[in-house]
């Protein structure tokens, strides 16, 4: 228990069971969140920044793809139903570009069709999470697992 020094971190660790030694390595890691629901942008933004990540927001597919190329994040959280360009299009664009093709992509969506899951995984998504089936804590655990 002597690991806990940072008061902010102590508070969050109450809810999100993240151990102390992860704290150091996550400093400055960038996560791009491509999602058109502003409520989720706020919630995830709060959660991730408190965890020590830098979050980049994109409200539509095209902006998301452009930001991915410009900022080369360490991880991308991607919704599938998006304005301007859908998530599949973004994923394809990411995997076709030399500079972004190795960035892990977690799909975070309401679509739970087996066909959609298969398509996303074939296009190179690292993980496919259906929003209704995961809590924030569980999503955070998936992120940590990929980034560490």
């Amino acid at each position: 228990m002597n690991l806990i020094r940072d008061p902010v971190f102590t508070k969050i660790s109450k809810g999100f069971n993240i151990t102390k030694n992860m704290e150091i390595s996550k400093k400055g890691k960038k996560i791009l969140f491509i999602e058109d629901e502003s409520a989720l942008q706020i919630t995830f933004g709060d959660m991730l920044s408190k965890q020590g990540y830098e979050m980049i927001k994109a409200m539509d597919g095209k902006t998301g793809l452009d930001l991915a190329k410009e900022k080369t994040p360490d991880l991308i959280l991607l919704d599938l139903i998006l304005p301007k360009m859908d998530g599949f299009g973004v994923l394809k664009g990411l995997k076709e570009d030399e500079e972004t093709k190795d960035i892990p992509v977690i799909i975070l969506t309401n679509l739970e069709n087996t066909g959609d899951v298969q398509r996303a995984l074939e296009l190179g998504a690292t993980n496919y999470l259906v929003k209704a089936n995961y809590t924030l804590t569980e999503i955070l655990e998936k992120i940590e697992k990929i980034l560490l």
Binding site: K11, I12, K14, F16, A39, T43, D46, N110, A132, L136
Partner: protein
């Protein structure tokens, strides 16, 4: 364009799947069969008439005239059935779309509440936490209801996607029992699991089987009086496995038994005591088990308890709509 439309009409199998009806209940298929029978009758009576009757032309005309009237009437009947089936399908599709749209706001609520309650945005006072808990419980309930309605709409429009994977049904049962332990303890109910002989792995959809089994166990726990027990048995017979859940609960009144698998139905004796429950659970369980090529049934006595069981093929039968 017209050819494409006619071709679509002729593709009976696809049309029937659209309505979520088996072939022998499907209007288009019935109409085709009827037409074939009528043609056969005309030909047979023509040949009989050739041998026995002198005024052949007259007889043929009468037969042709009366059959054409019959065909017209049948066409009208089948067509109205078709429209009925189509409107049901559209309603179910509409419900599917609506519940899908309802998901986003509920998920936004769920995540925001989780962040608040985990004190991710600052300390929460005890009094506030009580209210946040009320909010969370109701958001969860809403989410469950939306999920159930979505599944019902998928079952009824025939688009529920099922997987085929090799897995151990014994593990699935044991895991589900372990997950139910806290509720069992809290409700003072003991659970027994008995398996007969060697149970092989099965090829089916583990997610939906688990949902179905969990639902039966939930019901067995939920509709018990103060103290009770749940017996689970698993056995193999030929090409099927049988999984049964027996409880010592309130049972189902005899006059209610025939409605038990209908959607939104809840037995009278249960309604008196329990307010929660959507009445969708068993409808979903039956839909899923039958889609997977299995059967489901139950026996029950009021105040003595119920036994629900389902069977599943060890290997998928050809009836199962394969994915891909």
């Amino acid at each position: 364009m017209i050819f494409k439309k006619i071709w679509e009409q002729l593709n009976i199998k696809q049309q029937c799947r659209k309505y979520g009806l088996p072939l022998w209940q499907c209007p288009q298929f019935l109409f085709l069969i009827m037409g074939l029978i009528i043609i056969a009758i005309i030909i047979i009576s023509y040949f009989i008439a050739i041998e026995r009757i002198n005024d052949l032309q007259m007889v043929t005309l009468i037969i042709l005239f009366s059959t054409s009237i019959l065909v017209t009437i049948d066409y009208i009947i089948v067509h109205s059935f078709e429209r009925l089936a189509e409107s049901t399908r559209m309603k179910m599709e509409f419900i599917g779309i609506v519940s899908h749209q309802l998901r986003s706001p509920v998920i936004n609520l769920k995540y925001a509440l989780e962040l608040l309650m985990s004190e991710g945005t600052g300390e929460v006072q005890k009094g506030q936490l009580d209210y946040l808990t009320i909010l969370k419980q109701n958001v969860d309930r809403l989410q469950e209801l939306i999920n159930d309605i979505l599944v019902v709409s998928r079952i009824q429009t025939g688009v529920l996607s099922l997987k085929e994977e090799d897995f151990s049904i014994v593990d699935l049962v044991e895991k589900t029992i372990i997950e139910a332990k806290p509720v069992l303890l809290a409700s003072n109910i003991t659970i027994n699991f008995k398996k007969e002989g060697n149970i092989p792995n099965i090829i089916s959809d583990s997610f939906w089987i688990k949902q179905a089994f969990k639902n039966l166990v939930d019901n067995a726990i939920r509709y018990q009086k103060s103290k009770g027990k749940v017996d689970i048995s698993l056995k193999r017979r030929d090409k099927n496995i049988y999984l049964a859940v027996q409880d010592s609960g309130v049972g189902i009144p005899e006059e209610d038994q025939k409605y038990i698998f209908q959607k939104f139905f809840r037995a009278r004796n249960v309604l008196k005591k329990q307010t929660s429950g959507t009445g969708l659970g068993l409808f979903i369980v039956k839909g899923v088990i039958e889609k997977l090529g299995g059967k489901i049934n139950f026996t029950s006595k009021e105040n003595k308890g119920s036994t629900f069981w389902f069977s599943l093929p060890i290997k998928p039968t050809s009836k199962l709509n394969k994915l891909k």
